[in-house]
């Protein structure tokens, strides 16, 4: 339903959209009803010459029902929203379907880096394909992602997947997604993480199986040399020096 506003490219993005529409409709209906009633009352009982205003406590049964009935209906709507939200939460956050492939997503000020397991399909082996700014995945496969942060709190946000997960330094979060449409989609940081937060973007490229295989083969060849570079970054002088 929201596809025409923003692409929907993961298996659960429709669930999030459905929840969004449900909340918008239920809250919207009550908002319009309340405003309509409000303005009607203002108009209907506006000041008139020769008519004295009367104070109504609202305690009488025939008056109180105008509060109690809508209140009960709003509570019913709340329950509907809570149940729907929990169902979507369980699907996305509490369920971890078996992975076809696991990738590592690393956030740091102010870039996203990724590790694809490469041809052996195992992370942390010499054939891992490590990239900056671009994560390639295969359409129709279920992916697990291991999300970590090297420095401060970031948030892995893929709007087209309706996926958002915070990343705290020192923790590794496991999540999942299943891309359903090929194309290039934005990856953003959704947690203010410093002066470069606004430009901390990357691309999630959903490939066809053939294109993904070609990408993997092209990058697997250059990987061993790259892997050797995973060394100490900047040394700090020893204390007292």
């Amino acid at each position: 339903m929201l596809d025409h506003l923003i692409a929907s490219a993961a298996s659960f993005s429709g669930d999030v959209d459905g929840l969004f529409v449900l909340i918008t409709v239920l809250v919207g209906v009550w908002f319009i009803a309340a405003e309509a009633m409000f303005f009607w009352l203002i108009f209907r009982f506006r000041a008139k010459d020769g008519e004295k205003a009367q104070y109504v406590t609202g305690k009488e049964k025939h008056l109180k029902k105008w509060i109690n009935i809508p209140h009960a209906l709003v509570l019913v709507c709340d329950v509907v929203i809570i149940v729907a939200a929990i169902r979507v939460w369980v699907t996305i956050k509490q369920t971890l379907p078996p992975a076809d492939r696991t990738v590592r997503v690393v956030a740091q000020q102010w870039a996203w880096t990724f590790a694809d397991p490469g041809p052996d399909q195992k992370l942390d082996t010499p054939d891992d394909i490590r990239t900056t700014d671009e994560l390639h995945v295969e359409v129709g496969k279920t992916y697990h992602f291991l999300l970590e942060s090297k420095d401060v709190v970031h948030s892995f946000f893929v709007p087209a997947f309706r996926l958002k997960q915070d990343a705290d330094p020192g923790r590794i979060y496991t999540g999942w997604f299943k891309p359903t449409k090929t194309g290039s989609y934005d990856i953003l940081c959704a947690e203010i993480c410093g002066i470069g937060h606004g430009v901390m973007g990357a691309l999630l490229v959903v490939d066809t199986p053939e294109a993904f295989q070609a990408w993997e083969q092209a990058h697997a060849a250059e990987t061993p040399a790259e892997a050797a570079s995973a060394t100490e970054s900047t040394p700090a002088p020893a204390a007292g020096q």
Partner: protein
């Protein structure tokens, strides 16, 4: 009559807004404003910051700062997955959106007063470092470490020792200088690979810190 006056008033207001929007900011003001983006890491005087691994940049030649900004912008430098400091610098360079912004900020940095940064590491074997320096580095960086624009080599005498060691390590590992479009970086990488170990790096950097500044 009233409508015409009203239309004229709106026209005048829009014209004034347009002229104000198009007004050019003095270059000095703009460059100083742009430097505010650099200040959190490089410091208000361009002195660098060990905690953030940001080098001293005050007084670096304009051509060098500009060249590095371009490299960061294009992802030729700072895009390696392990280059944490590069990842911080790359988006900053990319945030210089105006066509003259890199030049303005480079000009600003080059006019800042350069200060000799005292060594943070204990001085290593400067004699061995001197031998290495004269054999490897002197061709590009010059006998006195003054740099060489024609070869794209920066002056190095006033740089922090910890930064120079870090860069030598990055060049050796391929974190820096391995991008096919980084010509000068590739030259430096080749030189760094001739340094046998961390001791050799500290020796040569210690020697650089003894050069007149």
């Amino acid at each position: 009559m009233l409508n015409k006056a009203y239309a004229a008033l709106i026209g005048a207001a829009l014209s004034a807004a347009f002229v104000a929007g198009c007004g050019t900011q003095p270059a000095a003001e703009r460059s100083s404003q742009l430097y505010e983006t650099c200040m959190p890491c490089h410091g208000s005087s361009g002195e660098g910051n060990l905690a953030l691994r940001a080098p001293a940049i005050a007084g670096l030649p304009k051509w060098y700062v500009l060249a590095q900004l371009e490299k960061f912008k294009k992802g030729v430098r700072g895009a390696h997955p392990d280059d944490m400091e590069g990842h911080r610098m790359r988006p900053m360079a990319r945030s210089l959106l105006g066509p003259n912004d890199p030049e303005l900020v480079a000009d600003h940095v080059s006019k800042m007063r350069a200060v000799w940064e005292k060594p943070d590491f204990a001085m290593a074997d400067t004699s061995a470092g001197g031998t290495t320096y004269r054999g490897l580095c002197v061709t590009c960086h010059g006998e006195g470490g003054e740099g060489n624009e024609a070869l794209g080599a920066p002056p190095i005498t006033r740089q922090h020792d910890w930064y120079m060691v870090a860069q030598l390590r990055k060049f050796q590992s391929g974190m820096r200088g391995s991008n096919p479009d980084d010509i000068t970086g590739a030259q430096m990488r080749a030189m760094s690979l001739t340094l046998a170990d961390s001791v050799a790096m500290h020796d040569v950097v210690s020697y650089v810190k003894t050069l007149p500044h």
